[in-house]
């Protein structure tokens, strides 16, 4: 398994050898230094902590400063832990886009775009009412009935209703890596990737 942290830059398209036009997301990924290696004996579980992104020294608080000092790694903006990452990694080692190869299938995770308070049609793909006759001209996007009356006399837990949508962690699996540009730390991944432009994404290959 290999993993990287990166920043979503946006989308464009490229042509493959056959001349097909392929939609791609451009991700600036790495370089990611290994900041900490957790082992079963010292931490109770094994994991590798990697970092990404520049940050001004004055923005590092004391506890984090100590954390970086211990590993001897330049401070970074984001830290993420990955279980099952190759345990051969050493502290200070730097992961770059070259951990992946063209054609690899990867999982990309990130925080999806926040949609705010949304109704059931957008949030849960309800069909809406579908017509504006028979006295329902004012509720084409209404949820309809939310349950029966005297029995059970309550609304079931987890019933899908309007509310806050998006802004949660989303993963997209099996995205193909179309191109790698090691000198600019850029990955081209087929299709779309969760999150807004400039948001942090994790790229994982199993």
């Amino acid at each position: 398994m290999s993993a990287l942290l990166g920043k979503k830059l946006g989308m464009t398209s490229v042509y493959n050898d056959k001349g097909d036009q392929i939609p791609v997301t451009v991700i600036e990924a790495g370089p990611c230094p290994v900041v900490q290696v957790k082992t079963k004996s010292t931490d109770g579980y094994s994991a590798v902590q990697i970092g990404y992104g520049e940050i001004a020294a004055r923005k590092i608080n004391k506890p984090l400063e100590g954390h970086f000092k211990k590993s001897g790694v330049e401070p970074v903006r984001h830290l993420k832990e990955f279980r099952h990452l190759a345990e051969t990694l050493n502290i200070g080692e730097v992961l770059t886009v070259e951990v992946f190869q063209k054609g690899d299938k990867v999982k990309v995770s990130g925080t999806g775009k926040g949609r705010g308070f949304q109704g059931v049609v957008k949030r849960h793909h309800f069909g809406g009412v579908g017509m504006t006759t028979h006295g329902q001209s004012d509720r084409p996007r209404a949820p309809g009935s939310i349950g029966s009356s005297s029995y059970p006399s309550r609304v079931f837990k987890g019933l899908r209703m309007a509310g806050r949508m998006g802004g949660k962690r989303i993963s997209t699996r099996n995205l193909e890596i179309i191109d790698i540009m090691p000198d600019t730390n850029i990955l081209l991944v087929k299709g779309n990737v969760p999150g807004a432009i400039n948001s942090l994404v994790e790229i994982v290959k199993h």
């Binding site: 989308m11 490229v14 042509y15 036009q21 081209l188």
Partner: protein
């Protein structure tokens, strides 16, 4: 230029390199053409194992998009049936684009040509 534009430029260059390597004249330059111009687009067609070049001639009725996503729309009348094809400007399947006749259109989208007879089109574009 932002980073995405840079990537587009790299891939445009790569696509044009393919065009150059396949063409006999060894050029990949795209002529400047506008809606209203008549062009011949040489398209590479793959039939099983073999590959051949097919010419498609018609009037450019629209151009849209920018960067690597730019396309143009070519209309012709084939056996009495109107045919429109949309070509990505930098597609590697295009071998060459040649302008045969320059038109004189005052609009950027010539969709109004669709309902017109050939004679009327000629009058409109000259």
């Amino acid at each position: 230029m932002n980073k995405i534009d840079v990537i587009e430029q790299i891939h445009i260059a790569r696509a044009l390199e393919v065009r150059k390597s396949k063409s006999e004249s060894g050029t990949s330059a795209i002529p400047s053409f506008r809606p209203g111009d008549t062009v011949v687009v040489a398209v590479r067609v793959i039939e099983g194992e073999k590959e051949r070049v097919q010419n498609y001639q018609g009037i450019v009725i629209a151009r849209r998009g920018s960067g690597i996503n730019a396309t143009f729309r070519v209309r012709k009348v084939s056996n009495g049936v109107g045919v429109e094809r949309i070509f990505p400007l930098y597609s590697p399947i295009i071998q060459s684009i040649e302008v045969v006749r320059q038109g004189n259109a005052r609009r950027s989208k010539l969709y109004y040509l669709r309902g017109m007879s050939e004679k009327k089109i000629r009058a409109k574009l000259s």
